[in-house]
Symmetry: C2
Subunit: 349 residues, 2 copies
């Protein structure tokens, strides 16, 4: 496999290291980190421009900051050959998916991996091990290319999870971007309430709750802007929730406060457990007609129902009219997946 990494930083470099070592890929990279990437073994070649990097590539991964991601992705799509899958690693997906304008080669991507540090010199082969890696195909996405990106993602150690771009951005707004906003609110409120010199010691709950306050301003200003609409929706929801909590606290209604506190504990358990993958998997095989969008539709339908495709392989029939798809699904979700596949008209064989 020839892999083009557009932007050789922490993510691009780590991808190069893992793909070279685990998938025996030939990796080309662009960007200022390219020459250093070659020295560190993350790349086979540092390329001077995107055209050189994507020439003959099987997959191109755009690792650019979210503010320039749509423009760079458009450029990569204009230069990549017809059979090259193009994906990205941006933390918001609607804008870049829109920029791809239904190109069948594009699959949005977002690994939940990173570090406090940036730059190719901090790249690690194991950065993606067991990390969730969202994929956001559209109905227009080629099934063959989606499967190829899915395989790359599992090959570098991550767990792909196929979701709709809108669902992705709303989820990220709720579980990542809103917590950043509330952490900023908390420190501003505490700084105001405690005043300059009369500050007491703060405990571990404050430390944890505000760990991400003021996180890297360059990156976060970009994320706030890129996911503005979804984030505003979550902020509005939080304002309503907080106003309701205020009423409850003001009422002093003990049973209601107790119920609220218990519900929060239940919600948290549910949310954190839902994020846990692992355990035994079952292989489900389905035959699909050779028409655009079938694989993407299957992946999205399963993803929308919370069913995680742990691994996927696609084998075209000899006459090219059909394909055989093998899906590896967590045992606890396999029955649901079987039902969903039957409803889609692609019953498990």
């Amino acid at each position: 496999m020839i892999l083009a990494v557009i932007g050789t930083g922490l993510i691009g470099g780590s991808l190069g290291l893992a793909a070279r070592s685990r998938l025996d890929a030939h990796v080309r990279g662009t960007g200022r980190g390219g020459p250093r990437g070659v020295e560190l073994g993350a790349l086979d070649e540092a390329c001077g421009d995107i055209a050189a990097a994507v020439d003959g590539a099987d997959v191109a991964v755009v690792c650019a900051p979210v503010d320039v991601l749509p423009a760079v992705t458009r450029e990569v799509l204009s230069l990549a050959p017809p059979g090259c899958a193009v994906t990205d690693v941006g933390s918001t997906k609607q804008a870049v998916v829109a920029a791809a304008q239904g190109d069948e080669r594009f699959v949005g991507g977002h690994p939940l991996a990173g570090a406090e540090v940036a730059g190719v010199e901090h790249a690690r082969e194991d950065l993606f091990d067991d990390a969730t890696w969202y994929l956001t195909p559209r109905p227009s996405t080629s099934g063959v290319l989606l499967e190829r990106v899915h395989r790359l993602v599992t090959g570098v150690g991550a767990r792909p999870l196929v979701v709709d771009p809108d669902d992705h951005d709303r989820a990220m707004a709720a579980v990542s971007h809103l917590p950043h906003v509330l952490a900023n609110v908390l420190v501003a409120q505490a700084a105001g309430a405690l005043g300059g010199e009369r500050v007491p010691a703060t405990g571990p709950s404050f430390r944890d709750a505000t760990r991400v306050a003021g996180a890297n301003p360059r990156i976060w200003t970009g994320i706030y802007k890129a996911n503005r609409e979804a984030l505003l929706e979550q902020v509005d929801g939080a304002l309503e929730q907080l106003a309701r909590a205020r009423e409850l606290l003001a009422s002093g209604d003990e049973p209601a406060l107790d119920a609220w506190q218990r519900a929060a504990g239940e919600d948290r358990r549910m949310l954190l457990e839902a994020g846990l993958a692992g355990g035994p998997v079952r292989e489900l095989r389905v035959a699909v007609p050779n028409r655009p969008g079938v694989i993407a539709d299957i992946a999205l339908t399963l993803g929308r129902s919370g069913v995680n495709i742990a691994d996927m392989s696609l084998t075209p029939s000899p006459d090219g009219t059909r394909g055989l798809v093998a899906l590896w699904i967590a045992e606890r979700q396999a029955d649901r997946a079987t039902t969903l596949l039957a409803e889609l008209g692609t019953p498990v064989l």
Copy 2:
């Protein structure tokens, strides 16, 4: 020293262990955990009632849940002998201080220590090591008894910090109770936004930001009620801050977003650093007239200016008209303390 622990649980038991081992105190305890406390070496005696425990005691520490704290404290004050200092360990202070009705023997207290577990069987001698322990004397508080409680607190390994009860409750509302409320808001919002089955993996920022969501409902319902007024003030502040953040996010104004993000980082650094104590201390000695409230006034004035009294000792003059107070103050705060003491009419000798 004879120490009475009213309520032998995690806090009371840990106090008993530390006071017996480090201060050679004779410790009596009440409550269901009493007999077990004796077995574990946390108590010398388990007493059947408060009267027996406080008989001849030097200090009584009320370790009761916040909802019954004012009533229990009143009872302890009614039974304790004239020379016995009475303090408590509740996480809100206005209600219990009001219940003490200006009794010169009472000093409010609140150690920032605890654990996920409750009960005397989890008591540890080192529970208070390096923990901040707020003390909230009133002008009516006896200097001799304040100094005795201060010495007990340092003796069990904690760092006393003298503050006004109102300031204490506002600070706790801002740095502890509001984070709990916002954690509940976050999980409720995320659970709503992500729906039952469509839940994606959540990352470490969500895990940290919501660690205290749904914390022990019995304890927290009590705290929300006990600190209702101060907490509502902070919730209102947070609602305003969040509404302002919403406007900023909606504006997409990049320099303003960047400034907001940077300010949050600065505020957090300032708040966390203010909580760090340690370093060299300087001994400041002052002579004080023998009249009620002088010591409490000194401690409160220093505390209000953020000056932490690392240790304190009080020696009455032979004729009983004056006392000599030695205060150990962190080197970086010693000059400010010197100025404040001069302004109070008790210049450093």
